[in-house]
């Protein structure tokens, strides 16, 4: 494939990045990324530490403003927009360091996630207890992420894995169609990870998914395509098998291309 990894099947990709660049002071962290993710695809984003993966997420979700380049969500430009604007347009993200509402209960956390998408906005004339659709949706989400037994526990009192599950729950609560997950299984044990992967698969059916991960097993099991980010550029964007065999990828991870294809067996 050529340097510009655009897909020519779907006219409007779910997420498209055009020559995206970001500098902090004089240092250019993201150095011209072109990527087009078709709707419904699951993309795993991998790369060595410091390659710019989290920065990329921050650029897409509006936490940072790009220095130049475009980000398009379903064909509409979202670069330069505020996070809440981007979220309302259908993109949601989770965080590497758990970012929940510590002093609210599990149920309340999820309910906060659904309020805007159900149109409740800034009302102060309705009681939360009467909002049946919000309450039912929050209950559904709780069951999906398997935290229904912990309904009224304060989020700060959950175990780490439970908090990560809640994090995912809040991320999908708004019904966004493009989901960005930043190292969702960070810090989890083997068994927790595999359970979590199943959870992610179940709750993101039909959605476009981008996941940053370090655990190769997770990525290769979860993703349809893999994007390899090295030094702020995407050097490969293809199916897992092709990426595994790609010489440039091997160089980036191992320092030199491997003669035969016995790398990354799992």
């Amino acid at each position: 494939m050529t340097a510009s990894h655009s897909s020519s099947e779907n006219p409007v990709s779910a997420l498209e990045l055009k020559d995206l660049r970001k500098s902090f002071g004089k240092t250019e962290i993201i150095r011209g990324i072109n990527l087009a993710v078709p709707t419904g695809e699951r993309v795993g984003i991998i790369g060595p530490n410091g390659a710019g993966k989290s920065t990329l997420f921050n650029l897409i979700s509006g936490r940072f403003e790009p220095t130049s380049g475009e980000v398009l969500l379903n064909g509409q430009r979202i670069d330069g927009k505020k996070p809440f604007e981007i979220n309302r347009m259908g993109l949601s993200r989770s965080f590497q360091i758990t970012n929940i509402f510590p002093k609210l209960s599990v149920f309340e956390n999820l309910r906060c996630g659904v309020l805007w998408s159900l149109g409740y906005k800034y009302t102060f004339f309705k009681f939360l207890a009467d909002l049946d659709d919000a309450n039912d949706l929050a209950d559904e989400l709780m069951e999906m992420i398997k935290l229904d037994k912990k309904r009224n526990i304060l989020a700060i009192n959950l175990t780490y894995a439970e908090q990560r599950a809640l994090e995912i729950g809040i991320t999908i609560a708004g019904g966004a169609n493009v989901i960005l997950l930043d190292e969702p299984t960070a810090g989890m044990s083997r068994s927790e990870t595999s359970r979590f992967i199943k959870l992610i698969k179940d709750v993101t059916v039909g959605k476009t998914l981008l996941t940053v991960e370090h655990d190769m097993g997770v990525v290769f099991g979860l993703a349809d395509k893999i994007a390899v980010v090295v030094y702020g550029e995407v050097i490969a964007y293809d199916t897992p098998e092709k990426v595994r065999a790609d010489q440039r990828v091997q160089e980036a991870y191992l320092g030199s291309p491997v003669a035969d294809q016995q790398v990354g067996s799992h």
Binding site: P83, F84, S92, L104, Y122
Partner: protein, 430 residues
């Protein structure tokens, strides 16, 4: 399981009961404490309750520390007193009882105006902006005498000639019942606010403003709207104050008053809905009664505040709730002995310190009266070393014993907390 998002009562029956009792208390308390002074104090408490609760919309619910809340109560007062004069003069055809509502509208209007600039930032910067705006309004109060009445302020007369059902608002008891009515409705409204989407998202903004953006909410807009709602109730409080005192001077927008709201709301407890109510009651008692006891009362207040921030940041309300929780688990009897011991030793130490402080104040302010004074009935001589050594001895003894009891108490408390945790987990598993 402790609840720290506002759940006043988990059961419906309980809720009706609590609000019913609240209404009854408001209605009947002036019959129990029926002296002139008591009625004044009760009226001021009602006004303070609304002010502190409105302040806590910002502080406790929204995590916004404001040093300039008096701007909104004060400007509400000024607009209300002008409205009152217009009502008396006949140019404003509304009932006198609606004047505080006008104050509320004024508070809301100024919150719309100033809040736009104020809520653009959060955290420490927000606090500094409220401070600067407060100073600005305070300084302007003396520059525009038409509206602010200059040094003498603006006065009015709340008496209505042909009152509805004979209510003329002449006697203080009439004003008290109007205040009680406004207090009940305001408290209920502010409580209801905590159960609405905006109220809950305000809590979310307090806990994690970044996450809020990522669930689709504009954090700044949430803060701005909460600011306006707080301004509305602040204005109502100011309007009631104008009606009650019949005079409004420039101090009502001053930093001292803003500081007072902050201090007492925090002391009462910003993390529970009813905390500011306790704080408001304490505020009125402190200003009206405590200040009569000793001229050092501001110093004591400052020290109490410091201790509260360090050791009980949830205020009186959190202390009550923690102990209710311990009682619910049946362990209160284990600590009450320690509480009594803490109280006694603390009191001893406090008396020693207070004696010394009073002696210094006596030397400062009443030097002409000689160096002798009576401290709680005990004659002291501020010039004699005996008195000083005696007080220091009492202070050190009290502090020493307090420290001993405190360590014991902490051990007991820690053990109880562990027990509660284990019990909670056990009950969850059932």
């Amino acid at each position: 399981m402790s609840k720290s998002h506002y759940e006043f009562a988990p059961i419906n029956v309980g809720r009706w009961l609590v609000w019913g009792i609240f209404a009854l208390v408001l209605a009947l308390v002036p019959l129990v404490f029926n002296s002139g002074l008591s009625i004044t104090i009760l009226s001021q408490m009602g006004i303070a309750i609304i002010a502190c609760l409105s302040y806590n919309i910002l502080l406790g619910q929204g995590g916004m520390l404001s040093f300039g809340h008096a701007v909104y109560t004060g400007l509400g007062s000024f607009v209300a007193i002008h409205a009152l004069n217009s009502v008396t003069g006949g140019s404003l055809p509304i009932p006198m009882a609606a004047v505080p509502f006008i104050g509320g509208l004024a508070g809301m209007a100024f919150a719309v105006l100033f809040g736009y600039v104020t809520t653009r930032k959060s955290g420490t910067t927000f606090a500094m902006i409220t401070l600067g705006l407060g100073e600005l309004v305070f300084a302007m109060a003396l520059m525009v005498p038409e509206f602010f009445g200059g040094e003498g302020g603006v006065s009015g007369n709340r008496m209505v000639k042909n009152g509805f059902l004979g209510i003329t608002f002449g006697p203080p008891i009439h004003v008290y019942y109007l205040i009680a009515l406004y207090t009940f409705v305001s408290v209920a409204a502010m409580f209801a606010f905590t159960r609405t989407p905006l109220g809950r998202m305000l809590n979310a903004v307090r806990d994690n403003p970044e996450r809020v953006e990522f669930v689709g909410y504009n954090t700044q807009r949430v803060r701005y709207m909460a600011f306006i709602i707080a301004g509305f109730f602040a204005g109502i409080s100011g309007g009631l104050g104008a009606l009650n005192f019949e005079i409004v001077t420039f101090e009502v927008v001053g930093a001292a008053r803003s500081g007072g709201y902050l201090l007492f709301t925090f002391l009462g407890g910003a993390t529970f809905f009813f905390g500011p109510i306790i704080g408001a009651v304490m505020m009125v008692l402190a200003f009206v009664l405590f200040s009569e006891f000793t001229s050092a009362w501001l110093l004591y207040l400052g020290l109490i505040f410091l201790f509260t921030v360090m050791y009980a940041p949830g205020g009186v309300a959190s202390l009550i709730m923690m102990n209710l929780q311990v009682a619910a688990f049946g362990r209160l009897r284990d600590v009450w002995v320690s509480y009594v011991a803490l109280a006694i030793t603390g009191l001893v130490g406090l008396l020693g310190a207070a004696a010394m402080i009073e002696m210094v104040y006596h030397l400062q302010l009443n030097a002409t009266l000689g160096s002798e004074l009576k401290f709680l009935g005990i004659p002291l001589d501020a010039a004699s070393l005996n008195s000083w050594f005696g007080s220091a001895f009492v202070l050190l003894t009290g502090l020493g014993l307090f420290e001993v009891v405190r360590r014991q108490f902490l051990r007991e408390w820690g053990e109880i907390q562990e027990y509660i945790e284990k019990e909670t987990k056990r009950r969850e598993a059932l």
